[in-house]
């Protein structure tokens, strides 16, 4: 129910409000990136922030991702807390070197003396009919690297609070924003703080099978659960929220209850986060499982052109198909 501190807002707006709150609360917080100022970002996530906080807090940077992340590292070394925007998933790679070889490792290399509270915001995933490099899900490429936290909200409330938590974290956080959910509205209570950043959340209780998802696929999985319910199947949906660290305890608890697990993500299945989940859960829950852990995701192929992206992306039917297969064991 809506209260004085609770409002319905789109996911993008929730991030905007969250950034605003962080900028207000801490003069060390900076927002940086291409077009984040006057334009408010290509998705308008930073809309109005430069107007209110000025060009020294909300910084339009040169068009150089390595430069953006590299200078954010320097600013963090100097005591700032930069929140940088990478315009689209496919454009993070010029900065990959800085993220992987520098940002992720400096804390360990300094034996804990250096903290790098840098947040890297990346709109990710497909389903918006974009041209190439605008629809990818590179989370596994970052999850493989120790030293980074990787999170992704699926709804407005999490978007708001997880951004607060990411900015407060002393570790670098890659904050993947499900771009096709930017315009979905949800309740945000700006006072009722949800669970910790790395905790998964059961978003629908069920008994027959667990669907694990994160970011854009949570909504899809909720729709799958609704559709399955019509066939008398009671699915549990777990929103991971964090890809690294991964809340294996929550997955285990759910699997011990339902005994079946299907992992859903947009990224290619091969060497993806589903592989990690399947392997660990098989180890942890071998005697509980009634079926192998199944995965639904993208193929081992370049992200296809927009007109056939729906064939590539896990949709209702493909997930239901996996659910059927898991239940058939």
């Amino acid at each position: 129910m809506a209260t004085e501190t609770s409002t319905k807002m789109a996911l993008a707006k929730a991030i905007n409000e969250s950034l605003r709150r962080a900028l207000e609360a801490d003069p060390k917080v900076l927002v940086m990136g291409e077009d984040v100022g006057k334009l408010g970002g290509v998705f308008r996530v930073t809309d109005g922030l430069q107007k209110d906080f000025g060009e020294s807090r909300v910084i339009d940077t040169p068009l150089a991702e390595s430069g953006i992340v590299g200078t954010a590292i320097g600013l963090a070394l100097r005591g700032y807390r930069p929140v940088v925007e990478i315009q689209f998933d496919g454009f993070v790679f010029p900065a990959y070197d800085q993220i992987v070889t520098q940002l992720a490792k400096m804390h360990a290399r300094s034996l804990g003396k250096v903290k790098l509270p840098v947040v890297i915001r990346i709109p990710y995933g497909g389903g918006i009919g974009a041209v190439e490099h605008h629809s990818e899900s590179p989370e596994a490429l970052f999850a493989h690297v120790a030293g980074l936290k990787i999170v992704t909200p699926s709804n407005s409330s999490d978007a708001y609070w997880m951004m607060q938590q990411a900015i407060q974290s002393d570790d670098p956080v890659i904050f993947f924003e499900p771009k096709r959910r930017y315009w979905d509205k949800g309740e945000v209570n700006t006072e009722a703080i949800p669970g910790p950043l790395h905790k998964a959340q059961v978003v629908r209780e069920g008994t027959d099978l667990t669907l694990v998802a994160y970011g854009p696929m949570v909504k899809t999985c909720l729709e799958v659960a609704d559709a399955a319910a019509e066939e008398g199947r009671n699915l549990e949906v777990l929103d991971l929220r964090s890809v690294s660290p991964l809340d294996f305890d929550a997955i285990q608890a759910s699997v011990e209850k339902t005994r079946r697990l299907v992992v859903v993500h947009e990224a290619p299945v091969f060497f993806g986060s589903g592989a990690e989940i399947a392997a660990r859960i098989t180890e942890r829950c071998f005697y509980h499982l009634e079926a192998p852990v199944l995965r639904v995701g993208g193929y081992h192929a370049p992200y296809p052109p927009a007109r056939i992206e729906e064939e590539y992306l896990p949709g209702l039917d493909r997930v239901l198909d996996a659910v059927d297969r898991a239940l058939a064991y």
């Binding site: 291409e34 077009d35 100022g37 006057k38 334009l39 408010g40 290509v42 060009e55 339009d60 940077t61 040169p62 068009l63 150089a64 390595s66 430069g67 496919g90 454009f91 790679f93 010029p94 009919g129 974009a130 041209v131 190439e132 490099h133 605008h134 091969f270 193929y299 081992h300 192929a301 370049p302 296809p304 052109p305 927009a306 007109r307 056939i308 992206e309 064939e311 590539y312 493909r318 198909d321």
Partner: protein, 382 residues
């Protein structure tokens, strides 16, 4: 007093304000905005032999390219294309430089080089597949020596440099031209391509279309020195040309390509021009720039300028313009029909060409995909 301290005392320009034109360095210009031919000791010789027919050809190229661009913009508005990156205002830079290339030269474009593609003989419809979402490029770069469009900013400048290094190794005398924007000049890849091309004396022309904006960010957000001056620090020449003057773009690019061919290495050409429309159809320029700027640049329109010259020098008559108008309409129609007729790709296209040699995992996933499709009612998955 040192130079530094003088500079430090100057009032700082607030970010985002525009430099006044009088503080800008000189441009190479052969045609004024009024269409008057002006002499240029250094570059006149590169267009000295140009015939009236060729001049009309340049005009025709620009008009048809603009028509194609306008058609694509309206096709996007009608939902036939997912996105369009317009070249409106940049016709002279693209046609001038594109017409300077030789058949055996190789072009490395961004995603906006529709006019250069035209000069290379790429059928304009071919450019639209990726904007419609039926492919991610889709043409054979080797059939016109025109590489695929590059969306990741700056990447292609390194490919161009490597290709040029290959030309040198082969002992050939072709040249390469790499296009990029003022925003791209900030990317590490572009700086690295400058380094490599200088070190290996690669026959490459870096053609920067400074259209003043990188989405919402003005050139001042990328650089504090005029872009063409960058080249000096890497050890090769840079020149700024009036990017709305097709003759000057033709002459300067010819000069640079000839330098490349004769073993003198890379050149940076900065075509000083203006993006008259939005960055792409997804962009809203009213959020970051006013109308006055566009109006000032409209007075320098590249097409109008050449028309004035053609008329004043009696190189073109009413008949020519009327015929061209009809040709434009026909092109628009052809493009419109071609786009509407473009079928969606087969769903199995997902798995095509992921590898040249084939790959067991792709084969397995394709088979699973086929079985899944076939599990629906008859025929639907076929």
């Amino acid at each position: 007093m040192t130079v530094e301290s003088t500079a430090a005392r100057k009032p700082r320009r607030s970010a985002g304000t525009r430099k006044s034109p009088s503080t800008e360095p000189e441009l190479v210009q052969l045609l004024t905005p009024e269409g008057k031919r002006v002499k240029n000791a250094a570059y006149d010789k590169y267009v000295a032999g140009i015939t009236p027919d060729e001049l009309r050809g340049l005009y025709r190229d620009m008009v048809l390219t603009r028509r194609f661009d306008a058609e694509a913009t309206s096709l996007q508005r009608q939902g036939e294309l997912g996105l369009w990156a317009s070249l409106l205002g940049q016709e002279a830079a693209q046609i001038g430089s594109g017409r300077a290339t030789r058949e055996d030269d190789y072009v490395f474009p961004t995603y906006r080089e529709h006019g250069v593609a035209w000069c290379r003989g790429v059928p304009p419809e071919n450019l639209l597949g990726m904007f419609r979402g039926v492919n991610n490029g889709g043409w054979d770069p080797n059939s016109n020596n025109f590489q695929l469009y590059t969306i990741v900013i700056g990447s292609q400048t390194l490919h161009a440099t490597g290709y040029a290094m290959g030309i040198t190794k082969d002992g050939a005398d072709s040249a390469v031209i790499a296009y990029f924007g003022d925003g791209a000049s900030s990317q590490g890849d572009v700086a690295e391509s400058f380094t490599f091309s200088a070190v290996y004396n690669a026959p490459v022309v870096f053609f920067c279309q400074n259209n003043q904006w990188a989405i919402s960010e003005p050139t001042e957000k990328q650089t504090r020195v005029p872009l063409y001056q960058r080249a000096q620090g890497f050890g090769f020449p840079g020149v700024r040309v009036d990017g709305n003057d097709v003759l000057a773009c033709l002459a300067v690019t010819k000069w640079a390509l000839e330098r490349a061919r004769s073993g003198e290495g890379p050149t940076l050409v900065e075509a000083f021009t203006y993006r008259m429309g939005a960055h792409t159809t997804s962009d809203d320029p009213t959020r970051y720039r006013g109308d006055e700027e566009r109006q000032a640049w409209e007075a320098k329109d590249p097409i109008l300028r050449l028309r004035r010259y053609l008329e004043a020098s009696n190189h073109a008559d009413e008949g020519f313009f009327a015929e061209l108008e009809a040709e434009s309409e026909a092109l628009g129609k052809r493009v419109r029909e071609a786009v509407r007729a473009m079928p969606d790709p087969d769903r199995f296209a997902i798995f095509e060409h992921a590898y040249a040699d084939g790959h067991a995992l792709v084969d397995e996933e394709r088979a699973q995909f086929a079985a899944y499709q076939a599990s629906f009612t008859d025929g639907e998955g076929a």
